[in-house]
């Protein structure tokens, strides 16, 4: 479905937390999970041009043109009022970018970059765009040094991975929960595809990092941690495992009143995982006060 264009929620020229080295990060709009704990909920939905955001925009950056909501970056003051007003968790500031647009941005910043990470939303919803983009980068001599990563929830069938993996250097895969019922409750979706993706990616040597969000009273239970340990061992004791701690930053809806994950709990889980023989358990590099 790619016509060489993707809806881009945001891009960064400097990110040190999305893979090895400094990475250009492209956040694509739209997600097939609806996580209650999402800290970027405005990347989930797709704009329906309802215009609720136009009414709250204080700078006149958002206008209705015919049936469409149009965003003008010039007057925009990045106050994000539109994001809070959006009933569908979409983002009217999304811009449509072509593969060539992205290549140009990469070229402008290439000396500073170790690679590109495509995140979301869910990056693999834009699979054809990803394949076109990655293929073009690999074919460009001035960009070929960039490593190409995908940050994904893994909700992609094997056929999809098989198409994109030949041009992909690594995948950071989130497992949201192991208990199927809990996974449905937290994300609105089943986890069987995610778990299968973890195995497929490890087998293909493309699993850069397995990520697990610890939520108090949900995914910090001994059962969840022991299931995580079992999966990581199955994938190989050298699997790089990153534990993240649930925080309120950006969260909207009921989870905003949940307790944040305490540092001690994450460190205790890391201790259990390390004791089980996992070589690389990574903790958050900064703890919020």
């Amino acid at each position: 479905m790619s016509d060489g264009v993707a809806a881009v929620s945001k891009f960064l020229t400097w990110s040190v937390v999305d893979g090895p080295g400094n990475r250009f990060v492209l956040f694509l709009q739209g997600c097939n999970y609806h996580c209650v704990t999402c800290h970027n909920p405005h990347t989930i939905g797709v704009c329906s041009d309802c215009g609720a955001c136009v009414a709250v925009c204080p700078s006149g950056a958002l206008k209705k043109s015919g049936r469409k909501v149009v965003h003008d970056p010039g007057p925009c003051i990045s106050c994000d009022s539109c994001l809070s007003a959006c009933p569908t968790r979409a983002n009217p500031m999304v811009r449509r970018m072509t593969v060539n647009d992205v290549l140009e941005l990469l070229r402008r910043n290439a000396p500073f970059l170790n690679g590109l990470t495509v995140s979301g939303g869910e990056a693999t919803l834009h699979l054809d765009f990803l394949i076109d983009l990655f293929t073009a980068i690999k074919a460009a001599p001035d960009l070929a040094h960039l490593t190409l990563f995908i940050d994904s929830n893994g909700n992609l069938p094997a056929e999809g991975w098989q198409r994109v993996l030949p041009v992909t250097d690594g995948v950071m895969l989130d497992i949201k929960a192991f208990d199927p019922e809990r996974h449905r409750r937290l994300t609105g979706a089943d986890n069987d595809l995610s778990l299968a993706s973890a195995r497929l990616l490890a087998e293909a040597g493309k699993l850069y990092e397995l990520r697990f969000l610890m939520i108090p009273g949900e995914t910090d239970s001994p059962e969840e941690i022991s299931a995580l340990s079992a999966l990581a061992h199955e994938l190989g004791p050298h699997t790089r495992l990153r534990l993240n701690a649930f925080q309120h930053h950006g969260v909207r809806g009921p989870a905003a009143t949940w307790a944040p994950m305490p540092r001690a709990g994450v460190e205790a889980a890391a201790g259990v995982l390390q004791a089980s023989g996992l070589a690389e358990v990574v903790l958050p590099s900064v703890w919020l006060p």
Binding site: W14, P20, P111, V282
Partner: protein, 512 residues
Amino acid sequence: MTETLSQLRRIAQNPTLSFKQKEHALAVEAENMLPYVLLDAETRAALDARIICDMYEGNAPYKPRYVLPDYEVVLKNGSTHLELPKPETLDEAINTLQIAYHHVPSVTGMPVFIGHLDALLLPFCDGVSDDELYRKIKLFWRYIDRVLPDAFLHADIGPTDNRVARAILRADAELKQVAPNLTFLYDPEVSGEDILRLCTDNIIACSKPHIANHPIHREVFDEPGYAIVSCYNALPLRGGAASLARINLKKVAEASSGEADFLDVQLPRYVHLNARLMRARVDYLFRQSGFFDGNFLVEEGWIDRDRFTAMFGIFAMAEAVNHLQDLAGRPGRYGHDAAANELGHRISARLAELVEREPMEHVWRGVAMLHAQAGLSSDAGTTPGVRIPYGSEPDPVSHVQALLPHHKHYLSGVSEILTLDETVRSNPEAVFQLAKGALQLGFREFTANVTGNDLVRVTGFMIRLSDVKLYNAARGSRVNTTALGAEAAETVHILDRKPRVVGLELMAGSGV
């Protein structure tokens, strides 16, 4: 006179200053009881309005602002004046340098340059094991920090990857001292990526070293080359800088009716007045102070009176651009908006052109060198040099891209500080790539602070945040520059921000 006396009394009775610090402050006051060097009325008026500024260097310049001795002379020949034989061993070489430092003047009263240490010491390292070398360097480092505790004091290493440079980087990261400040001269053809990576890892540990773009600096200077000293000033080796005077671009913009008036009328006017101020000060130093007459540093060849430049400083580029943007009714801000950034780049190009047209007697190559000046601790409401205002900096990559076009114009240095948040600690490769990219694209120098480090950079010099806390609790500090950092912290709340960058540099009269 009563005001002067009470100022002298305040210094004499200040409980937070050490004996040495009082002595220096009293000397500054005494110099300023002399009449100012002779100025014409127009220059005097611009100075009094602080549109141009002499950095409070003192009324009667009797020593160059920065002295960069060629220490190789004393290591090769010894010194007749100091009755020092030529050193033969590493211990003797370090001892000779330690003695030499005490005879090198500068505006701070302590040397601002202590040598290209790896090049100086390598010839003495045959037969010295790596471990022995590292232990000797550690003692040397401790000596410097305890005996010459001034953060403007600067050591250079590189561009080769060598044992001494590595021992210094290792000791420096371990000790995390304020002094000496440290610059690695990086040349991609010579240095190799291994030592660049070691440097960026050290930045994560202690916000040092500063990394200079050696090929770019090298082509500016003739033999015997240059050194990076004090607040990242690039100056001729075996010489230095006679003086530094600067223009407050914000005030020049406020005196302008618009961009054209600024570029075509006001800027040329104040460049000319600042040049007159510099000429008067340089003239006093060379023709009246007697500094170069009968000076053993000159007679033995440590310094050469023909190798002293004059630094033509500018600051508050950000405020000047934003003011001109306001006058033109354009909303874009410096550091963020392409048109505002380009206006800044045009101003820098114009400055370079104007400074080139102001001949200066006694000065190396006959013209001053443009410098993006890092500020005084008493400046308020202005941003140092061409920097982007604190708290509004974009991400490090956009930051470098926004300032890059300025760099080619500032031949005697453009100190820029990138602030990196703490997450880089777990991803040192990103800092390496950032430094490599910036240097590859032509950044003259790469300097970074990492949040969470106790040792942070106050524009050009280093302070320990724990020292600032102690000083503010009225316990004083054994390090001279802590008072400047504390003043800067108070004046512009530079430590309140996250990430922490300290904005202003100097105490009037004693700073760099």
